[in-house]
Amino acid sequence: MTAQATPHPFAEHQWATILQLLDGFDERQSLWLSGYLAGRGQIATPAAIGPADSATKLLIAFGTETDNSRRLAETLAGKCKAAGIAADVMDLAKVRSRQLAKREYLAIITATHGDGDPPEPTLSFYEELMGDGAPALDGLRFAVLALGDSSYERFCVTGQEFDQRLEALGGNRLIPRQDCDVDFAAPAAQWMAQLLEQLPRTAAAPNGTAVAAVPATAEGPSKSQPLTVEVLLNQNLSSPLRAHPIHHLELALDTPALQLEPGDAVGILVENPPDLVAAILDGSGLSGEQPVTIDGTAMPLVQALRQHRDLTIPSSRFLETWQALGDAPRLAEIIAAGTKAQRAFLKEHQIIDLLDRFPAHPQPQQLVDSLRPLQPRLYDAANSLAAQGDELHITVKAFHYPFGQRQEAGIASNYLLALQPGDQLQIYPHRNARFHLPEDPKLPLILIGDGTGIAPYRAFFQALAHAGHETPCWLVFAEHSFEEDFLYQLDLQQARDDGLLQRIDTVFHQDQPGRSLATPLLEQAGVLEYWLICGAHIYLCGDKERLEACESQLQAQLDTMLGQDHWQQLAKAKRIHRNLY
């Protein structure tokens, strides 16, 4: 508990009760409480030294897509008020880099999204700050809290970039940057506590209502209030013989309120496979009945493991707990070896491997606390809600990956593939503005997709047809075989009849080995150039490796044809849209 760190004004018995109370709380609750108390503004603070001018005021700026960073920013604001530190909160989307020059104190809380990209709304700020036009920031004192997910290759890079850039522009670090994995609550709380100690107490905490407790502004279903929907259909689209089939799921939407543009995805809360849960229980010598609390809710361990904890990817926290539990000198070494070595080690082990290599007997609560929260998975909307509001379609491929000697089955995808009509799912909208259609429906679209990458394009076609547009589209699609795996072939034929799909090139690896996604585009470089002259936007969606390979081939081709960094310029002009996974 961070509370122990700070000196307190309480009598011992009061303090004991407080501690006792606090111990029951999980991180989120304590964060909330701190904000709440701050809002009540009833805690005695050191005498004020006059009102704060905006310069000395702390600017808490957040960059978010799914609101975690916003919530943390507001929590921090609450803590500041509680501590009598003048602060205001801003979305980086609204911050201009010039304003920073006038500031003395800056705290940035930002996520990383896409493939190591800044959160979409903060893009313009990001470009300003990174660009040559960025202001000198001598005299600025800053701290950065980076949110991320260690299962992504480029972990927390946006925070890292801001951190380095601010220093490069002359700023001084108040405290070291904190990188957070998906279980960010605890490290965030520590970072805040350290930060508060570095900030001057300027003003008496004003009376007022709690800031921190104000939830994210987004109304309608959200990650924290998901929507429960019923599965209407779960249909295999691909060859029945295929080891990793691709399914089309139709979900019933009674809430037309669901905000989903073509190009957006939905987050889906899934469950771990029972056999994996059983293996974890065996591996840690626990039976499933014991009660544990997750986010303040009590439940049997088995349920916690099935619904709330990631049972594949270990975090450094897991190493620490396990090292503390039994004497595993090897674990101690790895922890000592520092984060780089740790991440390398973690990449080669899944939870089950660690249980196997380093047997230990954790308490049920210890086990759940050492595991990462089970993350929702994202799936692109495969239909246009404007065209058909009462159904949501998604396209899911059974994901498998080699892990050491064995094949691992993806958790969410295989869970989804097994669903039956009538089953229920929890979902929430995930905005992916980077991948929306251009404002101007006359601009041609070059849609490059691999496998499930076709999903958002199906939504595009439906939306455009529904709006009566005749946007020229050129689809380049790759799959296994023409006859069995031409995903949504009938829908695509419809799109052609609707006057949208003007060119189509297919690459079926089984039928024409040796061709790749880029091949047809390179073969028709002239046409491609013409489309780009007409202002075409390029969309890339689907398997990360394949589409990155495709992109670099296109980039090379166009740069030699149309001049150095032509591709870069397209990207700058936001005419290249990526949705890779």
Partner: protein
């Protein structure tokens, strides 16, 4: 300038849509070449499939899989049936070998010998069509006019006892086919990708509307009516006197196809109208075809067959028209005598001392183990091949010295039983029907083994095991296995349901009558059992079932309808 019927003078818009399509097609080109490259579909878009028929290629799909495909957001499994043009059904053994290997590379379900003694490939996918057609070209074969509104494959019967005559007639059949096929250079352009400068008049005979409908020519050599000469639009019956071919009796207006829902639609026997000298036959065929071109119905496609043209205008009119176009009247027909419409099975010694062996092929389908066995056989076989209109495979021109060796090759490969098949099987024909035929309403080829078993048991009950009875099964009333000329026929109405026809003659010169509608297997058994029982008890020596039914007036009942489907 010959007189033309109304149709060709009428404005195009008033004619059947297919007529307008032909007119627009620039002599059968359409947009086939583009369609072949369309990556979004395995089909050839638009109306072009209708044009492709003239090139011998039918767009089909696997009907078994339609529903499942729709659920998977996939189009049907489009595929093509490719029908060769093999006048008289004669092949060299290396052509057979080549066809076999092409079928392995590009087709599904092996090789299909048809009731017009040619070969069909099924299940060919669009991207393979050109390669296949070019492969056939390299074997000296093509698919021109194997389908479409034109002169179809010209059939030619066999008679090993008159092998010299047969060679002559077969040559005339080939000449007739070559003379009657379209002249457009669309075929080499599209399939061979040849740049041919089109002639100023691409279709001197057909014109740009081609025929109103398919037109079928066949040659028969009595006493064998294997081709069912009375089922042809134009039939030539060889007239032979002490082993010399004098000429042909000509018969016109045969046809099987009918629709169950139209009473102006019926099968029709060809009528014998006269006699012509041998070498006039090809030119004669062209003249008859041109009369049909000019007078055939171009608005009501179903009534467009030559048989209806004859009934519209009357045979007398036709004979005059023919005389005026030929400049001479027809000589009167000579007496001819048919004995059966099956094949000579087993070994036959031809009068030229050469041997031939006919292998029974069920429904003409050469696939699976049979295909492997035959491949093995053909590796060492140097003789010729003749496909029969009864869907069988004949090995011909086998010298005395080879016969022995051919026989044991057949023994080794377990093919020799096909020389003496069960006699019922030998007299049974069935059309392709499901899953490929777009018009099938019921199973045919795939139901044949079961039907043979059922019918065999039934015959056995009355000791009729060895009595040959012609039995023909089709998946719809179109009559591709010439059911209406059989002693017993089933034509498909709906899955599992058939119309039962009885009373055709054993040599195919009398139409069977509808005996019962919409019957299933039970119905078939219960209706035939009593008839077979009486046949067994009361038949004269060598009396055939069809003749017996007539003699006993067992068919003068109004058709039963067991099941109002």
């Amino acid at each position: 300038m010959v007189e033309r019927s109304g149709y060709l003078n009428l404005p195009l818009e008033t004619l059947h849509a297919n007529e307008q399509l032909k007119a627009r097609s620039q002599f059968l080109r359409g947009r086939i070449a583009e369609g072949l490259l369309d990556p979004l579909t395995g089909a050839v878009p638009g109306d072009d499939p209708l044009l492709m028929k003239f090139h011998g290629i039918y767009q089909q799909d696997d009907r078994d899989r339609r529903p499942e495909r729709r659920q998977r957001h996939l189009e049907p499994i489009y595929q093509f049936m490719v029908r060769m043009r093999i006048p008289g059904g004669l092949l060299e053994s290396e052509q057979w070998r080549g066809i076999d290997s092409l079928s392995r590379r590009y087709a599904e379900r092996g090789i299909r010998i048809t009731t017009r003694q040619t070969i069909q490939f099924h299940g060919v996918r669009k991207p393979h069509l050109r390669a296949l057609i070019q492969g056939l070209r390299d074997l000296g074969l093509d698919t021109i006019a194997a389908c479409g509104d034109d002169s179809r494959g010209v059939v030619c019967g066999a008679n090993p006892q008159l092998s010299h005559v047969h060679r002559q007639v077969a040559a005339l059949a080939r000449a007739t086919s070559n003379r009657l096929i379209p002249r457009t250079t669309a075929y080499p352009e599209i399939w061979y990708r040849q740049e041919v400068a089109p002639a100023d008049n691409e279709e001197p005979v057909y014109g740009d509307l081609y025929l109103p409908r398919k037109f079928k020519v066949g040659y028969a050599i009595p006493p064998v009516n294997d081709i069912d000469v009375y089922g042809q639009d134009l039939g030539f019956i060889a007239v032979v006197e002490d082993r010399r071919l004098l000429g042909f009796n000509v018969c016109v207006g045969g046809g099987m196809g009918q629709l169950d829902n139209r009473d102006d639609s019926y099968p029709r026997l060809a009528e014998q109208i006269g006699f012509i000298p041998p070498d006039q036959a090809p030119a004669f065929a062209e003249t008859v075809m041109m009369i049909q071109r000019d007078f055939g119905d171009r608005q009501d496609r179903h009534r467009a067959r030559f048989k209806y043209t004859l009934d519209n205008y009357g045979t007398a009119w036709f004979i005059d028209e023919l005389a005026s176009r030929r400049g001479v009247p027809l000589d009167p027909a000579r007496p001819v005598q048919f004995e059966h419409n099956g094949d000579f099975l087993g070994w036959q010694r031809a009068d030229d001392g050469q041997w031939q062996a006919t292998l029974y092929i069920e429904s003409g389908r050469v696939d699976g183990p049979l295909r492997e066995q035959l491949q093995g056989f053909f590796q060492q076989y140097g003789g010729r091949v003749r496909l029969t209109t009864n869907q069988n495979l004949q090995l011909t021109d086998i010298g005395d010295y080879e016969r022995e060796q051919v026989q044991w090759r057949l023994d080794d490969l377990d093919l020799s039983w096909r020389l003496q098949p069960d006699s019922q099987a030998a007299h049974t024909l069935s059309c392709v029907a499901l899953p490929t035929c777009g018009l099938a309403m019921a199973e045919a080829e795939r139901y044949t083994p079961r039907l043979l078993e059922v019918f065999g048991r039934l015959k056995a009950q009355y000791g009729l095991d060895t009595a040959p009875i012609t039995l023909r099964l089709t998946g719809c009333p179109n009559g591709c296995a010439r059911p209406y000329l059989a002693e017993i026929a089933l034509t498909g109405r709906a899955p599992g349901l058939y119309n039962l026809y009885l009373g055709g003659s054993f040599h195919g010169d009398r139409l069977a009558r509808l005996y019962a509608g919409n019957i299933d297997e039970e119905g078939f058994i219960s209706l035939l059992a009593p008839l077979l029982e009486r046949f067994a008890a009361q038949r004269h020596d060598d009396e055939h079932f069809g003749d017996f039914l007539l003699r006993k007036q067992l068919l003068d009942t109004t058709p039963v309808n067991l099941n109002h489907a």
